[in-house]
């Protein structure tokens, strides 16, 4: 459809809107249209903030296939028995009530010339600005012997929901003295402390249910997030249970056999009872289909999260390649607010304030033993750059660790309210 600029301007002035914003336009209809793909911490937040702050001046459509969103953050706490699975699930009902057009479908194609998103269920949705927040997919062939058809035998549990429930059931079903193995991912990946919090939670569960069980980690990385804190916690709480094989000892040279339930580390074949394979990651596939990726991720401009490939497309969260921020729900939520402000400014002429980003990641090591790491960031011409940061210390008091855990519970309530209303 061809845009009729004259009739739009006529409508606007008839409505008494003295728009000082010549960039305010729409694809042939009265209000500009933002389409958001993906309803996680990036997508749900950006949809809410644009809808809320534009007060009807921008139409927002959110395309998200699942009707209930299971947060990846805190899913390890479900594994450890600290949350029930239902507490991780959130509906999009409040977003719909706030005026967002929530479409439960898969976005399967992006026509950047026609500016429209095609849906798996047929039809397409036109956009003035498209925001992609598709999270992650796995790199094909990243772990020899593993692919998505093996995810029931060897779950990744790195997209929360049924996979997380499966992994917990498998851990609980381990024979006494059995082995839980994890293939840890290479950088960069979603939630840098996530695999190690998961080890802590599996150990917590096994210590109670299966105290002679062993945990084996094959890790391609030399070091990992909050390593000192986790290793201190493992020594204190789960002594003798956890063995991590780093790259010096072949942790990067791994293959699995889901039928035989074996994992080979540097040629050494181990029979295991549970194998949690977390493969190398890349941007959710729709980013690649839209042609805004370079390598595995989608490069963006730090000031507004706009794609470096297309000024009308923005990429948030894990899928983006933005600089120093870790791939986390907190980061995606933070980026969403900067993006919402910029998109609103571009479409309605509202004030665009300078970008500010922040992140904090809490991890639970054992009951009432929380740790955290966080930083603030700013936009530079090249990237999102770290300004300042902090990390919990080893040897902290029990009271502080408990307070940190309680704070994380508060954060969960806060960010999910911020995302889902």
């Amino acid at each position: 459809m061809k845009m009729n600029r004259r009739s739009f301007l006529g409508t606007a002035s008839a409505a008494g809107a003295s728009l000082a914003a010549p960039m305010a336009f729409a694809a042939g209809h009265g209000v500009p249209h933002v389409v958001v793909v993906g309803g996680g911490p990036g997508g749900a937040t950006v949809a809410r903030y644009i809808a809320k702050d534009s007060k009807g001046q921008i139409a927002v459509t959110l395309i998200e296939p699942t009707r209930a969103y299971y947060t990846c953050f805190f899913s390890n706490l479900y594994l450890g028995g600290f949350r029930d699975i239902g507490s991780l699930a959130h509906s999009y009902g409040n977003l719909a009530a706030e005026g967002i057009n929530v479409v439960h479908d898969w976005a399967v194609d992006v026509d950047r010339d026609a500016k429209a998103v095609a849906l798996a269920g047929g039809g397409s949705v036109p956009y003035d600005k498209l925001i992609l927040s598709p999270g992650i997919d796995f790199v094909d062939g990243a772990v020899e012997g593993w692919n998505l058809s093996a995810q029931n035998a060897m779950p990744h549990a790195y997209k929360a929901g049924s996979q997380t429930e499966l992994l917990r059931a498998q851990i609980l079903a381990m024979p006494q003295g059995g082995t839980f193995a994890m293939v840890a991912p290479p950088n960069p990946f979603r939630c840098p402390p996530g695999p190690y919090e998961r080890i802590s939670m599996a150990a917590h569960l096994l210590k109670k249910e299966n105290p002679t069980a062993k945990i084996l980690i094959a890790d391609p990385k030399e070091s990992f997030s909050k390593q000192g804190l986790f290793e201190e916690g493992w020594n204190t709480h789960y002594a003798g249970m956890i063995e991590r094989v780093g790259p010096d000892f072949g942790g990067a040279n791994v293959s699995v056999d889901p039928d035989a339930m074996t994992i080979s580390i540097d040629g050494d074949v181990n029979k295991v009872d549970v194998c949690n394979v977390i493969p190398a990651m890349k941007a959710g596939r729709i980013a690649q289909i839209a042609g805004v990726t370079e390598g595995n991720w989608a490069p963006v401009n730090a000031a507004d999260m706009s794609s470096k490939m297309d000024a009308d497309i923005y990429v948030l969260g894990d899928a983006s390649h933005q600089g120093d921020m870790p791939k986390s729900g907190f980061s995606a939520n933070s980026q969403a607010k900067v993006c919402a402000n910029a998109v609103r400014g571009a479409l309605t002429g509202s004030t665009v304030f300078p970008a500010k980003f922040s992140n904090t990641c809490w991890s639970l090591i054992d009951t009432n033993n929380g740790v955290k790491v966080g930083a603030t960031y700013e936009a530079t011409a090249e990237k999102i750059a770290k300004v300042d940061g902090f990390v919990s210390s080893t040897g902290e008091s029990d009271a502080l660790r408990k307070a940190t855990y309680e704070e994380s519970v508060g954060w969960y309530a806060g960010i999910t309210a911020d995302m889902f209303g």
Binding site: T351, G374, T376, F390, E407, G410, G414
Partner: protein, 233 residues
């Protein structure tokens, strides 16, 4: 056991036996313990509502009933449901506020030690006309102690900018004032908000996340946030 004993003592006290006041709680010690409360609550002559309501006359007052304080819905409901502040209800509330009023915005970990609670309750009681046989004490209200430049406090914040900046806060602090594990920051008097943020910025307050967040906020940005959160319902 101790708890049971003390209630017995207090019952005797209510029955008119004034000699047991010392056993019920040490006002001087309570005053020292109250310093933890004073960052949000004032008591004594000239006490005003700040982040929390002023506490003069709290004894015998229905929970959530001061006209000019924006209580959480939970606290108002608690009052409507029949909670009146007295020795027993204050004791339970101060041990763990959320155990008595689950949706209270009062973000206080609680006083685990029964003697601490007894002392601070004795101190508070000294500012309540009822029970009547406790003489009105000297005013001890202490405003929020600070040495912030009046020029900083005089900055008029831009609430629109505050609304944008608040996005960084609402990832953790709930916009509706809910508080579970992370304090509510809505409806604070602007001055208290500004003083608190500058205290984090100067690392006088200890929380590392907040030191980091406040550390890069300008005076104008802090004023903008204060202006925004002041009226957020």
């Amino acid at each position: 056991m101790l708890r049971h004993l003390r209630f017995t003592v207090l019952a005797a006290f209510f029955a008119g036996s004034a000699v047991l006041a010392e056993d019920a709680g040490d006002v001087t010690r309570g005053e020292a313990i109250f310093r933890q409360c004073a960052s949000c609550h004032q008591v004594g002559a000239g006490a005003k509502n700040r982040i929390g309501p002023q506490l003069n006359g709290v004894f015998g007052r229905q929970a959530g009933s001061l006209d000019d304080f924006p209580y959480s819905e939970g606290l108002v409901r608690a009052g409507v449901d029949g909670i009146t502040w007295d020795l027993e209800t204050l004791d339970v509330y101060l041990e763990n506020p959320k155990s008595l009023v689950s949706k209270t915005r009062m973000n206080f970990r609680g006083l685990a030690d029964p003697q601490d609670r007894a002392d601070v309750i004795a101190y508070l009681r000294s500012f309540s006309a009822s029970p009547a046989n406790i003489p009105e004490a000297m005013p001890t209200a202490q405003g929020t102690d600070h040495d912030i430049d009046p020029a900083i406090l005089a900055i008029v914040g831009d609430p629109e900018y505050g609304a944008y900046l608040a996005g960084e806060c609402t990832t953790c602090h709930q916009a509706d004032g809910g508080a579970d594990g992370i304090p509510s920051i809505t409806q604070w008097p602007a001055e208290d908000f500004v003083v608190a943020m500058h205290a984090y910025k100067r690392k006088l307050r200890t929380h590392p996340v907040m030191q980091m967040m406040a550390g890069r906020l300008s005076d104008e940005e802090i004023a903008a946030l204060a202006a925004y959160f002041k009226d957020l319902e």
